[in-house]
């Protein structure tokens, strides 16, 4: 996992993409799309986070072991949220989504 030196323009391109996505998420949040506002905002956030993890944090150059750890971290985070929600939703403590 010796890290190659990444050209500056690649970092700048990732930066430009992150700024563009930030502008997009702010603009889209002003338009009423119902429940899709939440879906789009979170999709953009996940995309931005992935760009940072993949390029800025050099996971694209990392060993498989490091990638496994990174993936496990986010997977466990998903387990946390899914189990909490499935518990609250199935007990009727939370109102279900409209399509429920």
């Amino acid at each position: 996992m010796t890290h190659e030196v990444v050209p500056v323009r690649k970092y700048v391109a990732v930066f430009a993409a992150l700024i563009a996505l930030t502008i997009a998420t702010v603009l889209i949040s002003g338009i009423d799309l119902g429940e899709y506002n939440f879906v789009i905002a979170l999709t953009i956030a996940v995309t931005k986070g992935s760009l940072v993890v993949w390029f800025f944090m050099h996971v694209n150059q990392s060993s498989s072991l490091t990638r496994l750890f990174v993936g496990a971290g986010f997977f466990w985070m998903l387990i946390l949220l899914m189990f909490v929600l499935s518990d609250y939703l199935s007990r009727g403590w939370l109102p279900g989504p409209r399509w429920w």
């Binding site: 930030t22 949040s29 002003g30 956030a45 750890f69």
Partner: protein, 226 residues
């Protein structure tokens, strides 16, 4: 003969390679993996708060959406841009360290530090706004929509807990960057060994990612819901 070779090798070996590692690659791999394990505990740490946020937003969607109108989106978006920019300068700092460019390393680290302090200053302005508007949960709390008085306090409590914890991480990060600048100035890094720069870089980017999620959740998604 073999002994002599070994002792020669030991003398020639750079001091930055610790004796319990086979080579630099293994040493860097161990540091990276260790840092990621630490960051995983941080994901879980923030994950609990994101979990609390998820439950309460589902419980009181209307009250939570109403608070979005009292969040300063301009300042929040500016801060997002500032933090993303600081991630870029941090990535360039790590790149300078890889190339052994001491002056560029110190410049980029200083730039990252300044952007981090700009972020904290803007955060202070936002907190002050909340103070003036009586949006700090507790006895002094006022809310324009009385039916949401209690529920909105939960969101503002989560807002201060999550952004406060994030700001605390920024302050720690600023301290770490100052340490890096001091180390770089004393020629502690070379193109062969710059592990602390790379590891604190990982930490800084992680704190950036937390904000990337906090910004839409706290400022944006309730803007059009009423």
């Amino acid at each position: 003969m073999a002994d002599t070779d070994l002792s020669v090798a030991a003398h020639a070996a750079p001091t930055t390679l610790k004796h319990h590692f086979d080579d630099r690659e293994q040493q860097l791999e161990s540091s990276t993996l260790g840092m990621w394990v630490f960051l995983l505990t941080e994901i879980m740490f923030f994950g609990g708060m994101f979990g609390a946020y998820t439950v309460y937003r589902n419980l009181y969607p209307a009250a939570f959406a109403s608070t979005s109108h009292y969040m300063n989106v301009t300042l929040g978006a500016t801060n997002t841009a500032v933090l993303i920019f600081s991630s870029l300068t941090m990535a360039l700092a790590v790149r300078s360290a890889q190339l052994g460019q001491k002056r560029a390393l110190i410049s980029f680290l200083t730039f990252t530090l300044i952007l981090g302090l700009v972020f904290l200053s803007i955060k202070y302005v936002e907190y002050h706004e909340k103070w003036v508007d009586h949006h700090i949960p507790g006895p002094g709390f006022h809310y324009a929509e009385p039916q949401y008085f209690h529920q909105a306090q939960i969101l503002f409590f989560l807002y201060f807990a999550m952004t406060g914890l994030h700001a605390l991480h920024m302050i720690v990060g600023a301290g770490l960057i100052i340490t890096l600048i001091a180390m770089a100035a004393r020629n502690r890094f070379s193109s062969g060994w710059y592990t602390p720069v790379e590891m604190i870089g990982l930490y800084w980017h992680f704190v950036d990612i937390v904000w990337i999620f906090l910004f839409p959740l706290l400022y944006l998604i309730g803007r059009t819901m009423r």
